[in-house]
């Protein structure tokens, strides 16, 4: 399904010599160009081209210095990767810029896409690639005092390689001083003619931030003049860790990215690996995956529902919704053995077949939840105070959402119907009947409306899984399926050796690149995998929805009151591990 029309278009416009083409495992047109042309090409793609690429879906980099298999690619030490998305075409485009170690810099595109701001900071933080003209090119995920750029291949990956850690008093003071907020660094004034501003440090430990998030607020009385989110307190280096794990043993780490999403996180990862390996997953495994993913969508939305109500001061809903979530975990436990992080999807299928009696549990739950949801509508969604607190607060338009990289319910609440499950059905979603709920105003309340309706749609999908669960194997018959099927190992030595290697060493995934994005609980979650033909990934890029969503918070909070900020944070529905990875 290679979509080459856009590449021809680019060659016509800029001359065929400008671009190099690369074949990738996911069929996304991938072109190389020089850093001098990058801005021009990106500007053309965003504004001038027919059916433009309006969203900067992802921006990342690859340290290519020890990569072996690079046929058909421009030589480079570092490669900056722009991943663009066109809604009109329903197509992606990957633009790659080769850089050398000596001149690891290229011009910023923050003026083209506001969303590029944090992405460029992240690339600078983790790779040390400079973006000339960026307004605040400073560390974003790591502490300001960090030495080195961890996603470079020569940076140590574990603490034992880094020497003993000491924190003497003077160093502690330096670290503390480095975290002090200085408004001038952000171009903020400390006062205006009539009054002084208050700078309120909210977090990293605060009751309203849903985790370790620090927000520095510039307040005029209680009115928010500006917000500076300081993220990275939940950064655990998942992308760096992937480079030390086998393809198989990285799966548990994905669970902990959006820690409310459970197996939903594993889905894009295993799908991408399967794309690289060329594994076709049997139907039963697909449907099991869909069912479990939708259960986790429900679980995540229930947590959001309760905490959102709590953010605007309602105490009880969170208890009801956690009770419901407990029921979901009861089912998850019966099927997967785990609860929040079941680590249950495998390359080529799932870990086990469904247990006996699973259908009874699921059926009970399908009867249990809908009346409860109806009750919550009365309790929360139709509550006059709840409406007063959320309607018209934190509004943004579809155009703004696309500009800032917003996906998922936040995008659909602006009246734009875009759901990966419908637009690019994966794992057999095209076989299911469900609606994509939208709302029109793009405010806090509408985001809630969309999610609440999504929960009902998830129930519909689960019901279809229950009624039409196909028979058959739960894992693909493919040599790279992990762990491999053991049946024939006792019959011939070759299969036994292959099995032994695959289990002890891990599968060797063919060299290549693949990206798979899915409609996760909070928006589009995608894994961009680079394989160098080794049993471990060369690079894993995790595109999470919460990262751009968090970046947008200041935009929609300005001019509102402090209490509104809490409603906005609640309605955005982020998970800090999903922001920081």
């Amino acid at each position: 399904m290679t979509q080459t029309a856009i590449v021809d278009d680019l060659c016509n416009r800029f001359g065929a010599g400008t671009f190099g083409r690369q074949e990738t495992g996911d069929g996304i047109p991938t072109v190389w160009t020089t850093k001098e042309r990058a801005r021009e090409v990106l500007g053309y793609l965003k504004t001038e081209v027919e059916r433009p690429y309006k969203m900067l879906y992802d921006l990342t980099a690859i340290d290519e210095r020890v990569r072996r298999v690079r046929q058909g690619q421009s030589p480079s030490d570092f490669t900056v990767v722009y991943h663009l998305l066109s809604f009109e075409r329903n197509e992606d485009l990957r633009l790659k810029i080769p850089l050398t170690e000596q001149v690891a810099s290229l011009p910023t595109i923050t003026d083209l896409w506001p969303a590029a701001n944090w992405y460029e900071r992240e690339v600078w933080d983790l790779f040390g690639i400079t973006f000339v003209g960026h307004p605040h090119l400073r560390r974003i995920l790591l502490p300001p005092t960090w030495q080195g750029h961890p996603l470079r291949k020569d940076h140590p990956a574990r603490a034992t390689e880094m020497g003993r850690f000491y924190l003497p008093e003077d160093r502690q003071e330096t670290e503390e001083a480095a975290l002090k907020f200085r408004p001038e660094e952000w171009g903020m004034k400390r006062s205006r003619e009539t009054s002084d501003f208050m700078f309120l440090n909210m977090g990293p430990a605060h009751t309203g931030t849903h985790g370790i998030l620090r927000l520095v607020l510039q307040l005029d009385e209680e009115r928010i003049v500006d917000v500076v989110p300081d993220i990275g307190y939940h950064h655990r280096g998942a992308e760096k860790m992937s480079e030390r794990q086998t393809w198989h043993t990285f799966i548990p780490y994905t669970d902990r990215i959006d820690y409310l999403g459970g197996v939903m996180n594993e889905l894009p990862y295993v799908l991408a690996v399967e794309k690289l390996a060329g594994i076709v997953v049997p139907d039963r495994a697909k449907v099991i995956r869909v069912m479990m993913a939708e259960f986790f969508r429900l679980a995540s939305h229930l947590v959001w529902y309760g905490t959102f109500a709590q953010d605007v001061g309602q105490l009880s809903p969170v208890f009801y919704m956690f009770t419901d979530r407990e029921r979901i975990f009861h089912i998850v436990e019966a099927i997967c053995g785990g609860r929040m992080h079941p680590e249950w999807f495998r390359i080529g299928g799932v870990a086990q077949d469904l247990p006996e009696g699973w259908d009874k549990l699921v059926r009970e739950f399908l009867n249990y939840l809908p009346p409860r949801l109806a009750e919550y509508d009365d309790l929360v969604m139709r509550n006059a105070i709840f409406k007063a607190r959320t309607q018209g607060i934190g509004r943004y338009s579809t155009a703004e959402a696309i500009d800032w990289g917003v996906t998922g319910p936040g995008l659909r609440a602006t009246g734009f119907e875009w759901d990966f499950r419908k637009q690019r059905p994966y794992s057999g979603y095209d076989q299911f009947e469900f609606d994509v709920p939208i709302a029109m105003h793009g405010d806090c309340y509408d985001r809630a409306v969309v999610r609440v309706e999504e929960m009902r749609q998830s129930l519909r999908i689960i019901e279809q899984c229950l009624n039409h669960m196909p028979e058959g194997p739960y894992k693909a018959e493919h040599p790279l399926t992990t762990p491999p099927i053991k049946e024939r190992t006792m019959h011939d030595i070759e299969t036994l050796i292959a099995h032994f290697l695959s289990v002890s060493w891990g599968p060797v995934i063919p060299a290549g690149e693949a990206f798979v994005g899915i409609e996760a609980t909070k928006g589009n979650n995608g894994y961009y995998l680079v394989s160098d033909g080794t049993p471990w990934p060369y690079r894993v890029r995790i595109r999470t929805p919460s990262f751009p969503h968090m970046q947008m918070v200041p935009l929609i909070s300005r001019g509102l009151l402090l209490a509104d900020l809490l409603a906005i944070l609640g309605s955005v529905d982020f998970v800090l591990a999903d922001v920081d990875r």
């Binding site: 009385e221 953010d311 605007v312 001061g313 009801y320 509550n383 105070i385 809490l566």
Partner: protein, 320 residues
């Protein structure tokens, strides 16, 4: 002198009962919230967890009496005392039964209003003295809230005063012998209930605390017994407002068969439960919404109530 000697047991009795009740109320609220929220609440200490409050009290007494170095020490210490003192003083005028009342003032209602206004200072002072930005915002919100609800709280009660023809709370109860004021003064009752919620800083008006946004609002820096005093003050406030609703609108101690004290307790208890139920059910307003609600809705309604009641009283008067 005899008068004082006669009053002393009543004063002591009322004090002990109130402080015990407010401690029990903490247990009651947690159990009721647990019941409404599909969980247990405290049920480990003593029968039904009844001794939970005792355990809490012991814990809170044992805590270090800490004043942050950056706080304004004197004011920081006085603030929690203000709330306890003012609320307890208000109870002086509440007629629990025809015979049990600490001070039978002929301006009882005005005294209650004055004390409730003073209690708001506790929050403002605590917020200011803590020298913490969250506390300060909490204190500011409290003063905004005070300005908004004080006005219509007083006005909402004037209808009752007109019907009873007295500021004395005992007289007001007596005046309800035939008809409780909650019927002719239904509007006044609703307005007073809402003002009472704001007075006690309970959801949906717990804006000065607003734990989601302001950590703990005005008492963020407080711990140990000083925090405990705010806590007890809040629960005393709930009892006070419930008692006042009973006295002003639901005939106080009056009722058939049962002794007056029992009637008074039952009615008050029901309103306490209502307050807790509201906390279980409602979200929190924003402070500008509270102010707009107070000035644009509640104040005009209170004035209408006042005018209509006045007109009816005047119209009925000549025929008497």
């Amino acid at each position: 002198m005899n008068e004082v000697a006669f009053r002393l047991p009543i004063i002591a009795g009322v004090l002990v009962t109130l402080l015990t009740l407010s401690a029990l109320l903490i247990w009651l609220e947690r159990r009721l919230l647990g019941f409404w929220q599909e969980r247990y609440g405290p049920n480990r200490v003593g029968p039904f967890g009844l001794l939970q409050s005792v355990a809490d009290m012991i814990k809170i007494f044992m805590k270090e009496d800490w004043v942050p170095p950056f706080a304004d020490k004197a004011v920081f210490v006085i603030a929690p005392a203000v709330i306890i003192v003012t609320v307890l003083m208000s109870f002086a005028v509440v007629p629990f039964t025809p015979s049990i009342v600490v001070a039978d003032l002929n301006i009882g209602l005005l005294f209650f209003l004055a004390m409730s206004s003073l209690s708001a200072y506790s929050v403002v002072l605590a917020g200011w003295a803590s020298n913490n930005k969250y506390s300060l915002l909490g204190g500011l919100r409290a003063s905004a809230q005070m300005l908004s609800y004080e006005v219509f709280m007083g006005l909402s009660l004037m209808g009752v005063v007109m019907l009873a023809g007295s500021f004395n709370l005992g007289d007001i109860v007596e005046a309800q012998r035939d008809l409780w004021f909650c019927i002719p003064q239904i509007l006044g009752f609703i307005i007073f209930l809402i003002a009472g919620l704001a007075e006690t800083k309970r959801i949906p008006f717990d804006i000065p605390e607003a734990e989601a946004e302001l950590v703990a609002g005005f008492h963020t820096e407080y711990s140990g017994m000083k925090f405990g005093m705010f806590f007890v003050g809040e629960y005393l406030g709930i009892i006070l407002i419930s008692a006042m609703i009973t006295v002003l609108f639901f005939g106080g101690w009056q009722g058939p068969w049962l002794p007056p004290a029992i009637w008074f307790s039952i009615k008050t208890f029901l309103f306490i439960c209502l307050f807790i139920l509201l906390r279980a059910a409602l979200p929190r307003l924003r402070f500008d919404q509270l102010m707009a609600f107070g000035w644009k809705v509640m104040l005009p309604l209170a004035l209408v109530n006042l005018t209509v009641t006045g007109a009816l009283v005047l119209a009925g008067h000549p025929s008497k």
